[in-house]
């Protein structure tokens, strides 16, 4: 596929940003300054300040002498990067492959995207208009390579669109600085009178390497497309993703539902073709006011069943805040797993935990009330009652050991054992009477003791001697004595109720 890159250059990134947020600065000369060796040096300017002759690197004191009403703000390190990242996220609407190009640019891989806007010219125009409307002063260019687009955006004078293969002609006339060179290399070039790229472009490579180092050759190759340049992507490209730009911003529930359905159809067709099933998905929606919000769903087993996934999203549509309107939806499958291909007619009818209807029901429940609400237990290799069960990780997990049947366990188990008062006739014996919640229970018969030792490698404390007791009404309880009867501090507890 033909690769085309767009370079966006924000000429006054930080000053534009401040003017957008505080319109007070709009019509005033504004600079950002940073302390350097005891002086304040200018790091960013706006158009008005530039018109007065203030340039990057000037001392603030000098600039103030030139322009008395100069507004000076503190430059914060890392702000440009943060701003570019945010704008880059927004730019994902134009291409899924976006990279930040510090200090004041963005790179978009626009291969296969431009026709959606009706050609490269219109594509660039759209980007410029939208960014200008927001208040950013930008220059853009599209070319076969990142280097060429970068150079043309900053130094080009003729046209923003460099036709495929035309980068050589274009670069020829540009100044040497357009090659993104190190300052000392650039200085050496200037000393030798090599002011344009064309003046040294066709020199023998060995000569150039010996005099200016490998960096120059690399930059040249990258700009001409002889060498691949690696982009550090803002967001890794997901394998399964569907995009839906809206012609008009949408706000209604019906429109959002239609959007989700359309996206799911595309995504599920992709998944099905590859035999993959969706486990988690994120729906991002880009709002007219520039905010990007998202809703997410998860499933218990891999699926590409459109109507089921739609039901899961349906539960979350109420959380969507369309604001003034949504202009773009992106549905991404964040987690996929291999899903066996099944004939749809046979979907129902598998018994038990394999049943898709059950898995889909659990997805719906988890979508509404959260996955933490759903528990399934497996036996664990502990005798201590609280630790004798563990949570199953998935629906497929099978018990590793048999459920123990040797000793009956109470149907109702208190989360924490509660203290009871007892009367025991013989110390090492179940009590005769116990009082629980103000009620006296006279014990008729008892079973026990079943001694359960604490696992000292897990926690410390006394062992428990459990008794199953039955009172005169026929109710059955699970009591235990914590500690030896002859010890100083033993105590009776109630821990459960038997059927």
């Amino acid at each position: 596929m033909l690769r085309r890159f767009v370079s966006i250059w924000f000429r006054h990134l930080s000053t534009d940003w401040l003017s957008i947020h505080r319109p007070f600065f709009k019509d005033k000369p504004l600079v950002f300054a940073e302390a350097d060796h005891g002086r304040m040096l200018i790091r960013a300017t706006n158009t008005l300040a530039e018109a007065e002759g203030i340039v990057h690197g000037m001392a603030v004191a000098d600039a103030r002498a030139v322009v008395p009403g100069l507004q000076v703000m503190d430059e914060k390190p890392g702000r440009n990067e943060r701003l570019l990242k945010a704008i880059g996220e927004w730019c994902i609407r134009y291409s899924p492959i976006v990279a930040v190009d510090l200090p004041e640019g963005l790179i978009l891989d626009a291969g296969g995207c431009t026709h959606l806007w009706g050609g490269e010219k219109k594509y660039l125009k759209e980007i410029i208009t939208r960014l200008n409307a927001k208040g950013y002063d930008v220059r853009v260019s599209i070319a076969d390579t990142i280097g060429a687009a970068w150079a043309n955006a900053r130094f080009g004078k003729l046209t923003p669109v460099i036709e495929p293969g035309a980068q050589y002609q274009m670069l020829k006339v540009l100044p040497s600085a357009a090659l993104r060179l190190e300052p000392d290399v650039l200085e050496r070039l200037h000393k030798l009178g090599l002011y344009t790229i064309g003046s040294f472009m066709d020199m023998p490579r060995t000569v150039l390497r010996r005099r200016f180092g490998y960096g120059l050759l690399q930059r040249m190759d990258q700009a001409l497309g002889r060498e691949e340049e690696v982009m550090e992507l803002l967001r890794p490209v997901e394998t399964y993703e569907a995009r839906l730009p809206c012609l008009e911003p949408v706000r209604t529930r019906t429109a959002i539902e239609i959007g989700i359905k359309t996206l799911l159809e595309t995504l599920c067709a992709d998944l099905k073709r590859d035999g993959q099933g969706l486990r988690a998905a994120v729906l991002k929606y880009y709002r007219l006011d520039g905010r990007v919000l998202q809703i997410d769903i998860g499933t218990n087993r891999p699926t590409y069943h459109i109507s089921h996934l739609f039901k899961l999203f349906e539960l979350k549509i109420a959380q969507v805040e369309p604001g003034l309107g949504i202009e773009l939806f992106i549905l991404t499958a964040t987690k996929t797993e291999e899903a066996p291909l099944i004939q749809e007619a046979l979907w129902a009818g598998k018994p038990g935990l394999e049943d898709d209807a059950v898995a889909e029901l659990l997805d719906r429940l988890a979508g509404k009330v959260g996955p933490r609400a759903i528990h399934r237990y497996l036996p664990d290799e502990h005798f201590w009652p609280e630790r004798s069960i563990k949570l199953a990780a998935s629906l497929k997990e099978k018990p590793g050991i048999m459920w123990p049947t040797a000793r009956p366990r109470p149907t109702q188990l208190l989360a924490r054992p509660e203290r009871i008062d007892t009367i025991a006739v013989i110390p090492d014996y179940p009590p005769k009477v116990f009082v629980y919640k103000g009620e006296r229970h006279r014990i008729k018969c008892a079973d026990g003791p079943e001694r359960i030792e604490r696992e000292w490698w897990l926690d410390e404390g006394e062992h428990r001697d459990y008794y199953i007791v039955e009172d005169e009404k026929g109710n059955r309880y699970w009591l235990f004595r914590s500690g030896h009867y002859d010890g100083q501090a033993y105590q009776w507890f109630i821990h459960g109720f038997f059927a």
Binding site: A357, H375, R376, W403, R409, T411, L413, F498
Partner: protein
């Protein structure tokens, strides 16, 4: 002769009504007998109604424990080898391993622990609509007539059996449930006059049965399942009449 044939007609018509109301004819359900003996005879056609909603009154932890055991025994039959049960509640105390004793594999019960009653009702309705489940148990404080009707409608298409455990006896109202139960523990009998706790035994009160006969029954549990306990019928009648009076 004429009254005789009229009797037949009436019996046939009644049979039809039962069929329309979703009660299985006796032959079709023979293999799914629960072993409850006289208790099953209290239901129309003498068959424990599955694919319907049963309501259990559980005023305290003791009765919750007894009901849990009794329902465990029913679930074992309903779930069979593969079935899945959903147990929905707000503050559940049911200890899953205990159900193994009643023939249920505890890992085939999925617990849904929610924040409030409203969520429980929603989840119960969604679950009852799902034909892939064998049974649904929901713990609620109260259930209004309208709510019970929604659950009933869900069950009518999916044929899932639902159990509602109601804890607030002050607010018992009429519902569309097929039966209302209250289960209390009874002293167990280990045999041989030794003071040891034996297999559980329950006093099962069928307070209401749609198209059936309410009554009080004594059911025990053994290693093989439910064991109806022969009882003094006159005594049970007397107990029932005091219940009705009270």
């Amino acid at each position: 002769m004429i009254p005789e044939s009229r009797k037949d007609t009436i019996a046939r018509l009644q049979q039809n009504i039962l069929l329309w109301q979703g009660f299985k004819p006796p032959q079709a359900a023979q293999e799914q007998a629960f072993g409850l003996g006289a208790l099953e005879a209290a239901f129309p056609n003498g068959v424990f109604p599955t694919g319907a909603i049963h309501e259990f009154l559980v005023p305290g932890p003791e009765s919750a424990a007894a009901s849990g055991g009794f329902i465990g025994g029913l679930l074992a039959k309903l779930m069979g080898q593969q079935g899945i049960c959903l147990w929905i509640g707000v503050s559940r105390k049911l200890f899953a391993p205990a159900l193994k004793r009643f023939g249920v594999e505890p890992d085939r019960i999925i617990f849904v622990d929610l924040q409030n009653e409203k969520q429980v009702l929603w989840a119960a309705e969604e679950a009852l609509k799902c034909g892939g489940l064998a049974a649904v148990v929901a713990e609620l404080r109260e259930l209004t007539f309208a709510q019970s009707r929604r659950l009933q409608l869900a069950v009518e298409t999916s044929r899932v059996t639902g159990f509602i455990l109601r804890s607030d006896l002050q607010k018992v109202s009429s519902t569309t449930c097929v039966a209302r139960w209250q289960i209390a523990s009874m002293p167990s009998q280990a045999g041989m006059d030794i003071p040891v706790v034996g297999f559980p035994r329950w006093q099962v009160e069928l307070l209401k049965v749609r198209n059936g006969n309410p009554g009080v029954f004594r059911i025990g549990w053994s290693a093989d399942g439910f064991v109806p306990i022969a009882q003094d019928i006159a005594g049970a009648r007397e107990h029932l009449s005091t219940l009705k009076a009270g």
